[in-house]
Symmetry: C2
Subunit: 381 residues, 2 copies
Amino acid sequence: MLRKNFIMAPGPTPVPPEVLLAGAKETIHHRTPQFLKIIEQTLEEAKYLFQTSNRVYVFVSSGTGAMEAAVTNLVNPGEKAIVVVSGKFGERWKEICQAYGINVVEIALEWGEAVTPEQIEKALKEHPDAKVIFTTHSETSTGTVIDLEAIAKLTKDTDKILVTDAVSSLVAEPLKMDEWGVDVVVSGSQKGVMMPPGLAFIVLNKKAWEVVLKNKCPKYYFDLRYYDENYPDNPWTPAVNMIYMLNQSIKMIKEEGIENIWNRHRILGEATRSAVKALGLELFSKRPGNVVTAVTAPQGIDPKKVTKIMRDKYGVTIAGGQEHLANKIFRIAHLGYVSIFDTITAISALEFTLHELGYPVTFGKGVAAAMEVFNREGVAG
Amino acid sequence: MLRKNFIMAPGPTPVPPEVLLAGAKETIHHRTPQFLKIIEQTLEEAKYLFQTSNRVYVFVSSGTGAMEAAVTNLVNPGEKAIVVVSGKFGERWKEICQAYGINVVEIALEWGEAVTPEQIEKALKEHPDAKVIFTTHSETSTGTVIDLEAIAKLTKDTDKILVTDAVSSLVAEPLKMDEWGVDVVVSGSQKGVMMPPGLAFIVLNKKAWEVVLKNKCPKYYFDLRYYDENYPDNPWTPAVNMIYMLNQSIKMIKEEGIENIWNRHRILGEATRSAVKALGLELFSKRPGNVVTAVTAPQGIDPKKVTKIMRDKYGVTIAGGQEHLANKIFRIAHLGYVSIFDTITAISALEFTLHELGYPVTFGKGVAAAMEVFNREGVAG
């Protein structure tokens, strides 16, 4: 049978045709008034994504590059930093810190748990010499979102720097950097921003910049002082065509409205969770977000086979589990350029797949549960 | 909510990204060895679509242009022609014939009926002076497909010329021009050939060509003698970029295999019919084909509202009824570049729409019926 492709993974996510077309435009030289005008307007508009009035710096890198920038611009080797670890991307904060000789104070949680403001508060009290706290807004590996707004209240009027990895949450989950008082936010292009992978972002407030200016950690490519001196231009060669794409995707995000997009993700998340439960499956996360739904594979069903069949037979790319969860979960995203019919497609493909693997399925039961949510939310029917 | 677009109309149909990209290639001059090589290869490969060894002539026109070419190259003003009319496209044969002063012997049927071989046989006996019979393989206006193979048996070894409008059936419904002995087939690009509108095709066998060479009907743009003299080049300026697209679409059709594509359409048609019946709706056609499913709107439901809501609210473009059926039916296609998930999307959107219009719907019931067909046919689950 003819197979069309659907990316229902938590990055890369579907790219709108308008964004792909923008990327296909003529490459112009980056040291020209023409390009400067484009990148200036684009980065100005990008503030909307973060709900900030601070400058948005763009890296030619993956999201991990922006994470490294946050670490090496804010903490010196030998200094203490609090790191929340409850999944693969919390682990990554820890690994980057350790690579630079930073003294990691780890808040170690079970994967799938969400750190509480109380746990952060306790760590801050126990380690008054730790200046920076690294958190993961949406832990993509487990489908968990933390209460970032509540956590920011603890650090807002202190000299502590709250850093969050919003790689998978930006534009998808509510995040109001300035209003909430989050000091540093990092993100990437291939998630809620609806672009291919290739760009990463970092935004810092004034309090964080003061720390950056005194920092002595070794760094070069990700040294934020170069980016600020050259802003809005890039200190190194920018990815010209990806800036075109970013310009177009921000335009589309503004047209839809970020509150509407947050709400769309909430509805898609609820529909997916409802469908999964209707099929008798369990959610893995203790505090599921609306970026990706991690599902515990039922007894006797290999989640690797689920992802393989969905991709190879139905063209629906979902994600498997990472690290020790590889044999335990699969993850269905509802992130970025995703409509109600993408979710219906993913759920029907999941039903076919589970049936093929011998799990008892009444065809249409998960789809019906998702449809009921869409109807109840007033977006369909 | 974010809306993506799905064309589930019986033309234009979805265009694969590979075909769109082929159309975006550099336009070269059409009177060059470079272009001649492309059009030569393309038209040679196009024979596969018709299952013929005869030349395929391509017009820059809509399908109606190819219909006109069939009339004006085969019948002289004042001569008799048998025309089967059981829908809008049968009417079109009649209108073209009448515009050229041809004496139309009409086999007039109710819209939604399929002409039988017996009815054709009777007309042929009653009008021995009628040399040409114009039929509609797939009557798009009613979702009806005729038994063309059986009808061709009546004319194959006679001097009668059997012409069929395969605009919406080509590649979608089995059609073996040479084996069945169909004398003339006309078609267009925006249906089973998976292209945008803009090209039309005509293929004639030797018996038909003998008639063409003696024809005196006034014509110029569609005069087939010019096309044959210049073959594979076009006598007028060909649509260069559409030839690139045709080249790519034929490549994809060959890769999937035409028998597999016929079978895919059969399964999509069965799933759609099963879903529609599960929702308590009635099929309009007396002999439904696998190109488009015409559905009789239930009592109190305005089919124009069904198509409007599906398009404007859900991005799913289906077709309404034409002429006197405008207030009676709507039509869901499963034609061309369509996968099982497109059909599931169309059915779920139909469920939402009918529910909104006050028709009792159990969400997921139609989708489940379609899924059952896909599973029973062994293509999913």
